[in-house]
Subunit: 316 residues, 2 copies
Amino acid sequence: MADLPKRVKIVEVGPRDGLQNEPEPIPTNIKLSFIDALAHSGLQHIEATAFVHPKAIPQLADAIDVAKNLPPHPCVEYSALVPNQRGLDRALESGIRRIAVFTAASDEFAKKNINMSVEESLAVFQPVIASAITGGMTVRGYVSTSFVCPYAGEISKERVLDVAKRLIDMGCDEVAISDTIGAAAPSDIDRTVGHVLQFVPAAQIALHLHDTYGTALANVLAGLQLGISNFDSSAGGLGGCPYAKGAAGNLATEDLVYFLDRMGIESGVRLNDVAMASMLISDQLKRELPSKQLKRLNAARRANGNQQNGESPNSN
Amino acid sequence: MADLPKRVKIVEVGPRDGLQNEPEPIPTNIKLSFIDALAHSGLQHIEATAFVHPKAIPQLADAIDVAKNLPPHPCVEYSALVPNQRGLDRALESGIRRIAVFTAASDEFAKKNINMSVEESLAVFQPVIASAITGGMTVRGYVSTSFVCPYAGEISKERVLDVAKRLIDMGCDEVAISDTIGAAAPSDIDRTVGHVLQFVPAAQIALHLHDTYGTALANVLAGLQLGISNFDSSAGGLGGCPYAKGAAGNLATEDLVYFLDRMGIESGVRLNDVAMASMLISDQLKRELPSKQLKRLNAARRANGNQQNGESPNSN
């Protein structure tokens, strides 16, 4: 494991991918406190909101308010999702400097998720990306359902490469290969991302993993072994999987940071400080979040510092 | 990932390592139904109980009753923990054919867990293992806290090798290198198990992983990459971590089987049938178990087959 990247970039997607899945909208000031706490934990890339139609995602209807009032941290780059020209106009107005466009590797998923085929979405994005770049922004592209689609099943590596390459060709500086339903195993990462890497440099590829099946950190390892050093995660594991209520969502930032710390890979993020941010939003949502680290920290807190409580003999 | 083992042996430890951590004893007939369901799922190695002092672990006070009434499955090998000569006598009486002895790589842990130093425990085991083998049994050895000890901290690879090798030399046909508190990352597996492999063949090493920090499947991947093909797991993720109440316990058998299935690695175990066994014991315990697969299946059951329920747009 000596050849793994020594430093990893984490893109925190909790405020956007996480909170958009919550049944109730969160007050804007709570979102901003959450984002501020995330920035204080050392996270330098935070996807803060989405300029989508408020009817489609009422949870993010305050996108402009959030974007205009983002806590100033000189080392933090904020970004926001933008689905079309109208969204870009709002993003430009808000002053945000980085946007993300999102399509999929599966037409069936794209149609249900963004109401366009993949081809149609790329046609919409081309002028949006061009205008954004002209406006001085940088652009990320998401390729959802890059491994398994809940409607179309298995996705071919050629298809993922095709969509990823076209996003890069349009001006995206990074594509997030996304395991939307969290079904991938390391062999999937190896096959599909390995294929994309033949044509797109590792520095332009991020892995966006969900932990529905518990495979997310194994998939991070597979990514690291391919030389990938950009990973998305969500504080507390916020996010849920919209296709299986009650199942776990995004890879939790705490779990990723613990893993990287223990592997001796730098992320610049302080585990306990991310956990504090997650507890803030967990208190607001009045529920425990899925992050294993957070569960462990909460358990330790409940045990009141008595780590030997509940010990039973003959443990292995 | 082409060089990974094509077939893996799973040792199911739920009935022992799992149920010993439950606050209330489970009725013997429920344990036997659980074990029967596990055997029906294709699991061929089941650690059924422990011949320990009933005062130490009242949950397993029915060890002889369990062992004498194990459901007959011609392809299933049952085993039981044995801490000393008295335990071996009971095991021999019960008719069980495979036992496991358990020590640790950390003296501090061994003293708290089995009330002996590692050296003392090995001295106790030597005649027990010899008698067991004379009696026609086979013997497994556990090395608890092989990576991190909750009392002593980091454990050296040399220490793990020393204990593992002495167990093998005494007649154990397999040593279970155990991440008792689930703190290891793949770099730990690589370093410590890689070191043990210089002196002990892969076929004699099993990995016993806990998922406290969400790293268990990543650690399985690291093990597979070293050529390890024996993994312990617990149906539903039964087990808990006795050192952090509320934290997740053993690697869940369902999560391991999903991972292996998806990786194209055979285990002979049917995922849905293990989940059925877990649901049986989950109903008895009146709580949801930590297995991610089980949560997903329960969620799907709750959604009543409507997989599109709760869908939200713009998911990646």
